[in-house]
Subunit: 259 residues, 2 copies
Amino acid sequence: MAPPGAGLLSLNTATTRGHWGLAQAIEGCARHGILGISPWRDLLHVMGVDKAAKAIRAHQLTVTGLCRGGMFPARDARSRKANIADNLRAIDEAHALGARCLVLVVGGLPEGSKDLAGARAQVRDGIAAILPQAKAAGVPLAIEPLHPMYAADRACVNSLAQALDLCDALDRGRRGAPDLRLELRAYHICDWLVPTTDLLLDRGMMGDGVIDLKRIRGWMARAGYRGFHEVEIFSANNWWKRDPDEVLATCKARHRWMS
Amino acid sequence: MAPPGAGLLSLNTATTRGHWGLAQAIEGCARHGILGISPWRDLLHVMGVDKAAKAIRAHQLTVTGLCRGGMFPARDARSRKANIADNLRAIDEAHALGARCLVLVVGGLPEGSKDLAGARAQVRDGIAAILPQAKAAGVPLAIEPLHPMYAADRACVNSLAQALDLCDALDRGRRGAPDLRLELRAYHICDWLVPTTDLLLDRGMMGDGVIDLKRIRGWMARAGYRGFHEVEIFSANNWWKRDPDEVLATCKARHRWMS
């Protein structure tokens, strides 16, 4: 019997971290009727890109994103160059998986720096450096603005407005007419718990927190987004301690509730 | 011998919480040559408003703010009314102390609510309700935008832009020409630690984190702010465990460094 469908739900593998490798996550999605998956690169490297691409195709899953590129800022030119090289590898991997985008968690302040504007300039330069290869490979780059509490150590782009400004700056840096196509490329869902006990690892399951998820889903729809809804929950003390099959069943139920 | 001066440094009593009552904080400021103080109301109530006002005058301290009013949103009309009544008492207390402002930590979502816009409307209505008495008493109301991570449980006003929009909305709600005078009325300092281990109680001493405090100080100066620099550090596992005299000496040294 086919499992009940999960609509546009996609599983970001961070949600089952610690339990499932990528092969298990792919099989888990198939078992639960979840049609989208977004792998993290560490799991991808363990499984191997070719093997992962084959398994994903076999189960007809949509790769809603590859997590993650970015992390551009660094203290010296050599490290920045290494970061760019790693992003170019990520583009190749995203291409091999047929991912709908490479998610860019752009990075925070270089070690010892307090210069947020400088970090943002390094992000702009880093994206500019990888853009030609991304375009050639047909891999859209998805800038992921993170909550301002991550500005220092994870992402110095903290709002959609800043992401759009960044795209404008990238377009201005190019010769000729603007040619970046801007769109909402991915849509992550989770919830904000009150209280939140850890800045990174205490995210909530949809419905357990205070975010008006139905309203935001409406905003996405009105903005023309028709893609998957990717559940990414970092939860060291709750969801990461549970059986991943229970986690996926809960994701499906909550996703139905918010849809 | 007079202590070395502390310039425009002001002590917010949250910085020495758990050790000093208000009387001790007033004496501590005097002993360290700190010319400004910003009391929290719980300590003020323990000491008594008249006694506190007298001690503050005796030491010629400037009351850079009274912490705090606000916390307007609530689930039902009766609770909102009680919150407004408490704010009116806070205005009286700020007046009695000659405080330069009543700090408004405006409040977050009412219990069970996910309606951020609704909470902001309740804040607007709450401020509108107390504004006449604040004006009559000559007590400026200082809206304190808090970091977005406090939007749900502490303050649904999370940027200077939102605070200004709120003032615009308050002005539109009044008859006749706009008559709110807008200015930067207070300036809190601390630092953002990396990592930050607690959303509320792990704030850093100036210089121990990643905030470019000198740059922000320059912004304040260019915006015309000439008032005190009020150090408010919630730090359960570090500064709250130390001898308050050491804390004040450190505040002075770090304030000199950032000035």
